[in-house]
Every structure is written in structure tokens, then in C-alpha cells.
Amino acid sequence: MNRKLLTGNAAAAWGARLAGIDYVPAFPITPQTEIIETLSGWFERGELQGRMTVLESEHSMITAAGAAAATGVRVFTATSSQGLLHAMEMIYTVTGWRAPFVLVNVSRGLSSPITLEPDHNDVLAARDSGFIQIHCANCQEVLDTMLIAYRLAEHQSIRLPIIVNLDGFYLSFTREPVEIPDQSEAREFVGEFDPGQIKFRASMPESQAVAVLGGSPYSYFRYETHLAMLEALNVYPEIADEFNARFGRFHGLLECFECDDADYLFVMMGCFATKAKDAVLRLREAGIKIGLLRPRLIRPFPSAAIAAAVSEKKALAVIDQNLSIGKGGILHAEIASVLYGIGQAPPILASFIGGLGGRDISQEEFFEIAQTLINASKTGETPPPRLLYTAREFKELKNLRAIAQVERQQLKENQP
């Protein structure tokens, strides 16, 4: 068994390597750069066959990725945060090409203010693009998900690009023990890329991604992309079972931790969810029946699986590491849309915003969220949305602000 300490970035690079990628269009951005540096080293040393091209922007990088996939090679690329946003025009565009490839996004909060630390607003900006989205919670999952992602993306009835998401710093720069599958076994699992009829060849003229006139053909092509993505909900479990049978690790549509007999659930995505697991264990010791629900697939959204998992629970706390400005937590809204109209929907669906820009979520905060759920369940009243933010933090902010404003203050005082 080949078990090593790997960062999340290295695990992503290993996943790409084991999947047998041919081509990496690249552009550096923190905290993703280590992935392409790792791959670049392997290419240089001949440990990996294929080619890497450094483009001049993420917009160009995604264009090249889509174009190469549409020509029939297996493509990997990676970005983060502002880079993903800079590429956004092409993120939407390439999904219509039905050219599968895998993009790793290392989540990092968006400007302004600019930050290096993680939250999920970057990747959620791509939510409606047509990219499948899989969110990981540890480094092993990152590597395994890469192999699953190629299988899923290239599946003949799907053929869509996939974003594999990992959180900056907390996974990207954090080493954990990771079991690296055997190269030949991994290749056997992933298989060869069959581009089918979508490829550029001299003998087969093909005009790709052409314009349409009118809403009717446009509706057809857009909705077909939607149907193809929904099909991934049917295909994914088969691939996950096959992965489990071969490698002994199961990665489902959702992770349900201590959910079965739970009255209450934390609902979270990404690696901060493992913090919630710890809290679940402590709360269970105190006799509180609580669990954690973590959707791994965000697009397609596993609505039926989520509905089944939360059915008959007393209360849910959705802890969003993102903020739809002017609305609130994005996952909260998505979960709410699943619950409406189902028979045994939990009466309480509370919203918490935590972890923006990498702000920590403490165990005490998880405990307090659980207590809030218990109280709400008794009174039947859903608490208002809450930002996890303490009086102490606000005091510290005021200290920073005093420095930031010092000169203005002096000017004011000096005025006659």
C-alpha cells in the first residue's frame, strides 16, 4: 500500500496523473499554483506523458482546455477565486461544447476586499454554468474524486466538464495521509477517453458551437445540457460503487454522518464539515441526537437523496461558507427548495453564515447552533439567519479601523 502525506494540491495533481491526462493548459494563481508546479515537474522529468501550456489568462486557459477536449484529448486544468471569475465567460461557453474535462478549483474568497483564504463564493459563481461540481472534504477524497470525475465527465450520456473543489489552505496546503492507488489500476478504472463524434479531424468537417436563431433551438440545446447533467445523478452511484469495489473507499452523492437516527442535522459543504463531525460526536456523548449532512455534488443537485436524508428530522442548521449578497446562504436556499412540498419536511430550517474568507468555526459555535435548533424545535419558531461573528471580533475590527482612520481623525481635530 502506497500511503503518503500529501497536500490537497498534491492529491489533485496525483489524481490527474493517475487519470492519464494528456494536456494541461495552465495559469498560476494562489493557492492553486502548487498543482501545476507539481504536474510541470512530472512532465519535465518524463514521469508524465503529455504537454503543458501556460496561457496568458484563465479566460484563455479555459478556452484552450475546452478546445483541446473538443479535439479529443484528456484535459486537466486548475484555478482559484479571481481566476475562476476571469474565466467565467468561457466557463459557461465550454459546457455547451459538450467536451468533457476536469477543472480543479481551489476555493478562495472573492474581492473586494481581496483575500487569500477560502470560502465558496468563487465556485458557486459557476453554479449555473453547466459544469458538474463535486466538493471535497479531505485530501484522500480529492485524489479519489479526480478519478471518479473523469469517468463521470466522459460518460457518453453526460459529456460535461467537471469542477472538483477543494478549500484553499485548509486542504490545498494541508498535508494528510493519502493512499495513492496503483497507476495501472487507476488507468483501468478511468479507461481511455473516447471523444465519439465530437472532434476536429481533416476527414470529418465539423462546425462546433455555432450560433442559433430564435429561442426554440436555444431552449432545446440548453435544456439538453440540463438533462445530461441530471443524468449524472443516475450514473454517479454506479461509478462510486465501482470505485468502492476496486479501491475500498466509498464517496457518495452525499455524506451522511450519524444521520439515520438523528433529530437534528448540520448541513455543510467542503472541508469545514469535518469540524462539524467532531461537534456531532461531542453532542452525541451528551445525548443529543444530531448528525451531519454533506452534499458532495452541488451540480447536479442531489435533491431526492437530500429529501430522503432529512425526512422526519426535527430541525436543520445549514451553515453556509458563502454569502449571496442580498439573499443569504446559497445552500440554505437550495435546501429550502428541495423541502418545499415534501411530506415529512423538517419544520425548522435555520440559516447560519460561517467561515467567510476562512474565518474559523469553533466547536463552541457548533454546540450553540445545536442548542439553537433544540430551542427552535420546542417553540416551533425558526430563528433569523445569523452570521457567526462574536463581540470580540467586532472589538478587534474596531481596533483595526481606528488605525485605518487615524489620519482623517487627526485632520478633523486639527481643523480650526
Binding site: P25, E56, H59, T71, V210
Partner: protein
């Protein structure tokens, strides 16, 4: 030009590779140049298109191309060419496709992309030595959306109601400064000069870039039948120098013996009416003429 198969006009292709039935305007100078270019390039090509008038060459389910096409976006067509070129190279190296399945990658963009949004992607492609051909049809404005001025706009006045307060960006020089394999200006009204340049470009490797001045009846406001004559006037007045760059040297391929006054070119286009009506703007006309004279004074 001894080693060209285009010695005389009658050597031009008599069969045409680009299909009819496109939605380009009647009298489109860009389509004129494109069909002449395509006749020489042929169908073993993949055109990577940037947003512009010619986005609409291919509208589902109709395409005029005998080869292939990929629509990308306004800012990144050269990157699309990069992805396809790299992928084809990988497939050839791995012997997954035979050499006869290879394609020439061609970027097709308007001046809006070439002079503006796409400069970064083009510069990147040249830096990387991308083996591709870039064709810019330059109609000096965002023709697809109603001829707003792009950075490729010709020359005009800061005083007139429709004037663009500046002069045309020198894209030829900008590209040549990146030291690609080849840069040339062409025009559909001079098909022999165009054919020789495209022939030369196809014989070279690396980044090869072509700017085709494209008289635009709709945007420039003239009768479509005048399209070719106006193109010819652009050359005869010296407004559009036909030239090429190779191995660090710029050479002019057609130097007008006696340049016609620029006014001859300007007065036949509605877009320059403000230079003549309600009163002739002598100062501006003289300034435009002076700029052209200055340019040619430097040409040996």
C-alpha cells in the same frame, strides 16, 4: 515574386471553397477577402472564431465551411487555436491520428477583437510561437452591432458629430513587434497580392497574421457595388499600405506610383460626410493627408 504559383490574375483559383448562402451583408468586403483566402487555404483547416460579424457565418444548421469551425468568444480565439493545435500535436505524437488528419488552425476575428479585447490572447499566442494563421477582417468598427468605433477606426475628427477623436491603431506594427513568423496587410480588391501573401503564409511555420481591410457598405455607408472600388481607392490613396513583415523586415508589396489625394477615398463614404458637409473641413482634410504623406515619406 518568382516562386509563386500566382504570377498573374488568371492564376487565381477559379473554383471556390467557401459555400454561398451566408448571412453577411451584400457587398461585404470582409467576406470577399475571406473567400479569396479560403480558396487558397482549403478545407484542411479549423477556423477558430472570435465574436464579430462573422460569428454569423455559421448559424445552426448552416455553415459555409468545407473544413471545421469552433466559435469561442471575443477575447480568446487564439487560445482556442492553442488548445486545438496542442491537442492535434499530442494526438500526432501518440500516433492516435495519422498525419493526414491534421488541420491548420486559423483564427478569424474582426477588428474589435484583434485591436482590442483579443490583443492579450494574440500576444500570448505569438509569445508561445503558436503555429497558426490569424485573419483579421478589419471594417474599422463594431460592425455587427452598428458600427461603433473600435480601436481599429480609421481616422476622423474630434469636431464632427460622428467623429472618432483619434487615429487608427497600428496593429501591423503591434503584431510585428512581437516578432512572429509573418505579418501582412491585404485587401479583397487586390486579389493577386492577397493570394501571394496567403500562399507565403501557408509555407511558413509559427504565428502568421493577416489584416484584411474590409470595406463595409453598411457601416461605412456606401452602395454595396462600390465595395471593391473603395478598397482599391484605399490602396491608391495610400490609406491602406499593402505590406508584409518577415525576418525582422517590413517591405511594401504595392507602392502606389502616384498617390491619389485621400479625399478621393473619404468623399465616397457616408461615414466621412462630416468632413465635407455642411462645410469642407479643410484643416482636418489637410491633417489626414499630411499623416498619409508622412507615412509614405518614410517608405523607401
Amino acid at each position: 515574386m518568382t516562386d509563386t504559383r500566382f504570377a498573374r490574375m488568371k492564376d487565381l483559383p477559379s473554383t471556390h471553397w467557401l459555400g454561398a448562402g451566408t448571412p453577411m451583408c451584400a457587398g461585404c468586403g470582409g467576406l470577399q477577402a475571406l473567400h479569396q483566402i479560403y480558396d487558397i487555404l482549403g478545407n484542411k483547416t479549423v477556423f477558430v472564431n472570435a465574436a464579430g460579424c462573422m460569428t454569423l457565418l455559421s448559424i445552426y444548421p448552416f455553415t459555409p465551411f468545407r473544413g471545421s469551425w469552433l466559435y469561442t468568444a471575443m477575447g480568446s480565439a487564439p487560445a482556442g487555436a492553442q488548445g486545438i493545435r496542442d491537442a492535434l500535436d499530442i494526438l500526432l505524437e501518440q500516433k492516435h491520428i495519422p498525419p493526414e488528419e491534421d488541420l491548420t488552425t486559423v483564427v478569424l476575428s474582426g477588428d474589435g477583437s484583434a485591436y482590442g479585447m483579443g490583443v492579450s490572447a494574440t500576444s500570448g499566442a505569438i509569445d508561445r510561437g503558436l503555429d497558426f494563421l490569424y485573419i483579421c477582417y478589419d471594417n474599422e468598427g463594431y460592425g455587427n452591432t452598428g458600427q461603433q468605433f473600435s480601436a481599429g477606426a480609421k481616422t476622423s475628427t474630434s469636431k464632427g458629430p460622428r467623429g472618432y477623436p483619434g487615429y487608427k491603431k497600428d496593429l501591423f506594427a503591434l503584431w510585428a513587434a512581437n516578432k512572429p513568423a509573418y505579418v501582412a496587410t491585404v485587401i479583397g480588391a487586390e486579389p493577386l497580392d492577397l493570394a501571394r501573401k496567403i500562399e507565403k503564409a501557408t509555407q511558413l511555420k509559427g504565428s502568421r497574421l493577416i489584416i484584411a481591410l474590409s470595406p463595409c457598405p453598411t457601416g461605412w455607408d456606401f452602395d454595396p457595388k462600390e465595395s471593391t472600388e473603395i478598397g482599391r481607392l484605399a490602396v491608391k490613396t495610400g490609406v491602406w499600405p499593402l505590406k508584409e513583415y518577415q525576418d525582422g523586415r517590413v517591405s511594401h508589396t504595392k507602392i502606389p506610383k502616384e498617390r491619389l489625394p485621400v479625399e478621393d477615398y473619404l468623399k465616397v463614404q457616408g461615414r466621412f460626410a462630416h468632413l465635407f458637409e455642411p462645410v469642407r473641413n479643410e484643416a482636418m482634410l489637410a491633417e489626414i493627408q499630411q499623416r498619409i504623406d508622412d507615412y509614405w515619406a518614410d517608405v523607401v
